[in-house]
Amino acid sequence: MTLTGAAVPARAAPAHDLYLCASINQNYVVGAKLVTLSGIYRRAADGSYQHFGQNYPYIISLAVDPRDPAVIQVASLNGALRTTDGGRTWRTGTSWDVTEPKDICVDPNAADHVYLALPDGIAVSTDRGTTWPRRENGLPERGKYTQVIQVDRTHADRVLAGCESGIYLTEDGAKTWRRVLPAKATVTDLRQSPHDPRLWLATTQADGALVSRDGGLTWKKLEGVPSAEALYNVAFDPTNPQRYAISSWTYGVLATEDGGKTWTDRNAGLPAEHCVFRVGIDPDNGRLYAGLYHVALYGSDDFGRTWRNDGLEGSIIYNFVFVPQAAK
């Protein structure tokens, strides 16, 4: 199936593929017949979004093996799924004791190592997603709900996890974790700057947005970002080190173009009820994407000053994943 987005202006050929984890079922309930296509969409050269793989309404995140783009690791409601043939066949790698992973990532410096964020902790595969033992030493018994897990691309086995009780860091491939920041409620996202690996940003439910300039060891609040209501995710602009964007159900799209010193909302042109579930920024051209909950995908070529409907009507966009085409 192909869902057509707005025409992409003529530019140089993109260097990245865009994968979307999307659900396009209005009011789907477990057991109902799937009448639309959900799961993974990939942006085609003409700007349309093409579904591939399983039609499944709860694919939350994915990670592509940097050595082989046909190997895709997926976090789904059923657990961790993996394809090794570009989406033709899939296997659920986890068993009954793993449910509803929220995020998944592959260590680019140790690509057999895959990390899985779970509602009750963290699992790590060291065999490319075949087996998934728990790796929770250092996590609290309660408070280890994990929403996001991200690898430091500059150091093998160095990973940050956003949990209910704060941000946790491992530097030994999850053999041990330590808390580097306590939080009042769930840490919703963690991202490493593509420009400066020491720079990390985090969003939270109750502590606003946070910045670390030492690789995630210490954090401070980003002033200027509202914190009364939850923030959902943050994205760096790989084309401009001064630009970040944040999504929020309440605040919509928040943007900075001065490295986080000042923030403005960029909701003009979005539907009035702008419950923004996810933002992403295209590393090829700086295009800002916003997924509005059960509304559509929107795109902006001027960093949120104006928006256009980019298709995927009625969708929930769980994740934007940009994969370098050089990996092919």
Binding site: V29, V30, G31, Y56, T92, W96, D120, G143, E164, W249
Partner: protein
């Protein structure tokens, strides 16, 4: 989050039924049980008569369901009709062609899987090879959604187990999981045993569900019927006994009442109107079934010949000759966050009398949306359309609570659940749900519910449910509200000022119900019930209640000292353990089951059922069932 069983209104169903009867005159079937006069009170029958009556009810369900489609008509995709026809060995070519059509667009989760299992097993020797191939192919090609609740998983893993059992020795490429038959079987078995271990040691999670009982009973029946492994068949049979014994002890004339982990807007006030009534009907004949046999009922009926409800359970279900108190231990749904524990204990109390029953647990949220914490429910000759219950709730709506139980971001859940079969969740006039700010104590037919609601909480008030079916409702100058429901006298004492509001619009046939709305953060309700036979008149009952010593205050926390009609002196203070006759209630001593009929120690995996001299022991440690007739 599930599609409810087909439950059109009774009127529409009767019209539909009439049309079908006219359309297929040769298939004329009798007036269905849900629209016949209510069954006479059930007394214990001899075993052969009881079995014959049970099988007659099974046959009625199958005949009705099978008659919903004609072999000369269009193909159908409803698998309960196909399964019923297969169980009756009729219209096999039509069934095969319908299966092929149905499998072109399979469903996406456990509510599709277990119906598909019923057709696969019933049809394995009856369907055409092409139809069987269509079923098999669907289990390869469609990634089934496992779901996120215990009832989802009971259905999902029982279904996966049985299909892996049916198609052994096949590679991962032939299954949607990518795992081999052996791997699927092992995973499913491990989960099912894990779930049974939890239920038989620390209690069931989705305890006493009004509708979801089918989502456990039907899979367990299928496991008991079709599993190749004798141990798994035995587990299925034992869990069926366990579930039906729990149902039996909690029913009043076949109607499940008292606390429920999960129910809905209709069942919480029209207590009979639940799938649980179908099971009371088919097992015991003790109440009418709900319309269309509750939607899911035919899926039980197709394999029901393979189960026989033990006599001891039947007697527990139908004997209300003696009053009894039953205390049970259950547990909450799994808490992902916002809690110090993964699953909190639920301490459940049930007091059963011939004419009414009182049930409760200690308060809090067993389930974030569909909990029912306490009620007084009275018996009625015909429960259909009757709102025979009284209770109060704090109708909280909370993202915090949602995130405790769901792995979702904070904002969309409240909006989402109102569109997914739980429409009342974010409404101040609802009667469904529990609250972190409610604390409940019950002593026989007295309930004290205290509320301490933080400022800023969404919906900071108490809703008291006052049924259209109450009579002689009187607001007494003493502060008590008196009423009569059936043969129960009821006294309701709000602890803070209130107003009367019209009832919610979340249920069918709610005209005449009233909502007592008390908009005070520190609040409480006391309810005392009694049987009409205990007093010469309603006035005498009122006088007796007025004379009961009652002291209460709302600051700094709601606090009550009350001497019940039964003479117990109860001290309740919000946030503290209740004290009865000077002794502090120690919940840590609560057993898994404790009462005259069901008894089990916490952690034991062993339930003893007794009635009179009959005894049945379900021992999951040894996977044995032991029956005996005890000596006097």
């Amino acid at each position: 989050m599930k599609p409810r069983p087909g439950s059109p209104t009774m009127k529409a169903s009767v019209l539909l039924f009439s049309a079908l009867v006219l359309w297929s005159a040769p298939r004329l079937v009798a007036q269905p049980a849900w629209s016949r006069p209510p069954p006479a009170p059930v007394t214990a029958q001899d075993e052969a008569a009881r079995r014959a009556a049970y099988l007659a009810r099974v046959d009625e369900v199958l005949a009705w369901r099978a008659s919903q489609a004609s072999a000369t008509g269009p193909l159908i995709t409803d698998m309960s009709t196909i399964a019923a026809k297969l169980a009756r060995h009729e219209d096999l070519d039509f069934c095969s062609r319908s299966v092929i059509a149905a499998m072109k667009e399979p469903g996406s989760g456990p509510f599709w899987m277990f119906p598909a299992v019923s057709v696969a097993y019933l049809g394995r020797d009856q369907l055409s090879p092409e139809a069987r191939t269509a079923i098999r192919d669907a289990w390869r090609s469609v990634l089934q959604v496992r779901g996120d609740t215990e009832n989802h998983w009971a259905m999902y893993y029982t279904s996966l187990y049985l299909m892996a059992d049916l198609y052994p020795d096949e590679p991962g490429t032939s299954w949607y999981t990518g795992k081999s038959s052996a791997e699927n079987l092992a995973e499913a078995r491990d989960y099912l045993i894990h779930w049974m271990d939890l239920a038989t040691t620390i209690g069931q999670g989705e305890f006493n569900p009004t509708h979801y009982i089918g989502e456990y009973a039907i899979p367990m029946l299928y496991l008991a019927t079709w599993a190749k492994d004798p141990a798994m068949r035995q587990r299925g049979r034992m869990m069926l006994d366990w579930i039906f014994a729990d149902l039996a002890e909690n029913t009043l004339n076949g109607m499940l009442r008292g606390a429920n982990a999960r129910t809905d807007d209709t069942s919480v006030i029209e207590r009979w109107n639940a799938l649980a009534s179908f099971f009371s009907w088919i097992l015991h004949g003790s109440t009418p079934p709900t319309v269309n046999f509750g939607g899911w009922g035919p899926y039980f009926a197709v394999a029901a010949r393979n189960y026989e409800v033990p006599e001891v359970i039947h007697r527990i279900a139908v004997d209300r000759g003696a009053d009894y108190v039953q205390r049970d231990l259950k547990r909450t749904r799994r808490r992902w966050r916002n809690s110090d524990v993964l699953m909190a204990p639920i301490y459940k109390t049930s007091y059963m009398r011939r004419d009414y029953a009182v049930g409760s647990y200690q308060g809090g949220i067993a389930d974030p949306i569909q909990t029912h914490v306490w009620d007084v429910t009275w018996a009625v000759p015909d429960p259909r359309g009757v709102h025979n219950t009284m209770f109060s709730v704090h109708p909280i709506s909370s993202g915090f609570d949602m995130q405790m139980y769901f792995t979702e971001l904070p904002d969309q859940m409240i909006k989402g659940v109102t569109k997914e079969s739980k429409p009342s969740y974010d409404s101040p006039d609802k009667f469904l749900g529990g609250s972190r700010f409610e604390q409940v104590f019950q002593d026989r037919d007295t309930v004290i519910a205290l509320y301490d609601i933080p400022a800023g909480t969404r919906f900071p008030h108490i809703n008291g449910f006052f049924s259209k079916d109450l009579v002689n409702l009187t607001e007494d100058p003493s502060g008590w509200i008196f009423a009569q429901g059936g043969r129960a006298y009821l006294a309701y004492r709000p602890l803070a000022p209130y107003t009367w509001e019209k009832s919610s619009s979340w249920t069918e046939n709610d005209k005449g119900d009233r909502r007592l709305c008390s908009p005070h953060l520190k609040n409480g309700t006391i309810v005392q019930a009694a049987d009409v036979d205990e007093f010469k008149s309603f006035a005498d009952f009122q006088a007796a209640i007025r004379a009961l010593p009652l002291e209460f205050k709302l600051e700094p926390v709601p606090t009550v000292r009350f001497t019940t009609l039964r003479g117990a002196v109860v001290d309740c203070a919000y946030g503290q353990a209740p004290v009865v006759n000077g002794a502090k209630l120690d919940y840590t001593k609560w057993k898994l089951f404790e009462g005259p009929y069901l008894n089990a120690e916490k952690g034991s995996r062993k339930l003893t059922l007794t009635h009179g001299r009959l005894e049945r022991v379900l021992d999951f440690n040894t996977l044995t069932i032991t029956d005996r007739v005890r000596e006097n």
